[in-house]
């Protein structure tokens, strides 16, 4: 099997799993308990918090564990909105956010908030001027993703943060696709909140984190016990937290080397496809793009067919994002960058990772052109005279 869908999810690193195992067994104590054996669990949680803090360049007390990227996004947005509701009820985001952000914003629209969805240019980049102009007196939160999960475009987050700081508005960034892949420092960035998710960087599914800058107050999202300093109730997912901590530790160490290796593979893949298949469009920013992501539209054919044929060949990829693969609409991201409906429908996302090799790339290059031809043969839009 060739897996090229690392933006959808990643396998747990073996070292991550090893770091988790003790907390299913002997060290299973509830970190809130008093006795010795529970303190080991507590320590594991605090070690993980410190490891994530290192990855993000912040203080451990600024990290709060969640059940994943989705919860981190929901919490950041709703938490800020509710906390500041007497100050104002206007939120700014972009049209290419993940649904965890978009749908949370939409849910707030139903209870009296107004949301501005900023357009993006053809590369998927938010216009800073437009952003500045959108800030109103009653704007309380700006949430713009760090790197896009479909096309990989990286936003000028630092500039955005600076703009926001001038205006005195909270700034949240969904860094689920960036954290663990590229170095990022919340201090340098100046973000108030940042979301990340373990399973996107070889940690376990079902655990994520929200960075909340010291001094930034947001309403809790889950009520109950006093865990996470009373900000996020619920018995801690100790093995999961130990796992995401280990994943952060590994990423911090190996990220830079991986970037070089994977970028080379991705570029080889991109060039190879361009060479072999006519009439394709590569999406996303040419430079400001995640080094592992290749999103392209093979004109005149539809994405699902490509995926099925790739699957027959044992190649795992996606079209649009994984969590909307049950949906029939073309990707909102591709529409936002201005692709017409029928081209957007033919998108293919190949996202590379740790276990990909040059052979993997070559195998895709061997198989994909045939698949494209085959589907084009059936397509009413393909000019067979050519």
């Amino acid at each position: 099997m060739i897996y090229m869908d690392y933006n959808a999810t990643t396998p747990c690193d073996k070292r991550v799993l090893e770091a988790m195992l003790p907390y299913f067994g002997d060290e299973f104590g509830n970190p809130s308990s008093l006795y010795q054996s529970a303190r080991t669990a507590k320590k594991a949680v605090e070690k993980a918090r410190a490891d994530i803090a290192v990855l993000l360049g912040c203080a451990p007390e600024e990290i709060f564990f969640t059940s994943g990227g989705t919860e981190a996004d929901n919490w950041a947005i709703k938490g800020a909105a509710f906390q500041l509701k007497d100050k104002g009820r206007h939120i700014i985001t972009s049209r290419i956010e993940h649904h965890a952000v978009l749908n949370t914003c939409k849910s707030l629209e139903k209870v009296g908030y107004e949301v501005t969805y900023l357009p993006v240019d053809k590369y998927g980049v938010v216009d800073i001027e437009e952003l500045k102009n959108s800030v109103r007196k009653d704007t309380v939160l700006i949430t713009i993703m760090y790197a896009n999960n479909e096309i990989g475009t990286i936003q000028p987050v630092k500039e955005i943060a600076e703009t926001v700081k001038e205006k005195g508005v909270y700034f949240h960034t969904d860094a689920v696709q960036a954290a663990g892949k590229i170095p990022l420092s919340v201090k340098e960035l100046g973000a108030d909140m940042l979301s990340l998710s373990g399973h996107k960087f070889y940690g376990p599914k079902g655990v994520g984190a929200l960075y909340i800058k010291k001094g930034v107050k947001i309403a809790p999202f889950m009520y109950g016990g006093e865990q996470e300093k009373g900000k996020r109730a619920g018995t801690e997912n100790v093995p999961g937290i130990a796992g995401i901590g280990k994943a952060a530790e590994i990423a911090a160490k190996e990220m830079v080397e991986e970037e070089v290796r994977i970028k080379k593979l991705r570029d080889r893949l991109e060039a190879g496809i361009k060479d072999r298949i006519p009439e394709i469009v590569v999406n996303g920013h040419p430079e400001q793009r995640l080094y592992n992501t290749l999103n392209l539209c093979i004109k005149h054919i539809e994405g699902e067919g490509i995926l099925l044929h790739l699957d027959f060949e044992g190649i795992c990829a996606s079209s649009g994002s994984a969590c909307t693969s049950g949906s029939l609409e073309p990707s909102h991201v591709l529409l936002a960058i201005g692709l017409p409906h029928e081209i957007a429908h033919g998108s293919l996302r190949l996202s590379l990772g740790k276990h990909n090799t040059e052979q993997d790339v070559d195998r895709v290059l061997e198989v994909l052109p045939g698949i494209a031809s085959k589907l084009r043969e059936i397509s009413p839009f393909w000019n067979k005279g050519k």
Binding site: G305, G326, L328, P330, E342, E377, I378, S379, P380, K384
Partner: protein, 137 residues
């Protein structure tokens, strides 16, 4: 997506794909739900669908159902072909995932559109009751 083996089989090796040059009828339909498009070409002789081909821009289910509907229609009388329902197509394939039921409508509608086009053309080119004989010339 949980496609049956039969869907996969028909998707991988669709029958009757492509175009017919100078067809007697062509139907082009777009799916209201997803925006996908299907084109069906037919060649009719003596009220019988002698040849039928399809071109589909759509999902796996759309391609498989396109293939099945052409197979079911081929050799059938027009009247009988009109009775082919999307349910029949879906049953033939051993079912479709709920979210993909609408795709099979494309196939049914495409065939109907092609037949209608054929009939319209008949009416226009030969408004007399002996139109089929005319065509045989």
């Amino acid at each position: 997506m949980e496609y049956t083996d039969k869907v996969c089989e028909y998707f991988r090796n669709p029958k009757n794909m492509g175009r017919i040059e100078n067809p007697d009828g062509v139907g082009t339909v777009g799916n209201k739900v997803c925006g996908d498009v299907m084109k069906i070409y037919i060649k009719v002789n003596d009220d019988i669908i002698e040849d039928i081909k399809f071109e589909t821009f759509g999902c796996g289910a759309a391609i498989a159902t396109s293939s099945v509907v052409t197979e079911l229609a081929k050799g059938k009388k027009i009247e009988e072909a009109l009775k082919i329902s999307n349910k029949e197509v879906v049953d033939f394939l051993g079912g479709l995932p709920p979210i993909k039921k609408h795709c099979s409508l494309l196939a049914e509608d495409g065939l109907k559109a092609a037949i209608n086009d054929y009939r319209d053309k008949q009416k226009n080119s030969a408004p007399s009751p002996i139109k089929s004989e005319d065509k045989q010339l």
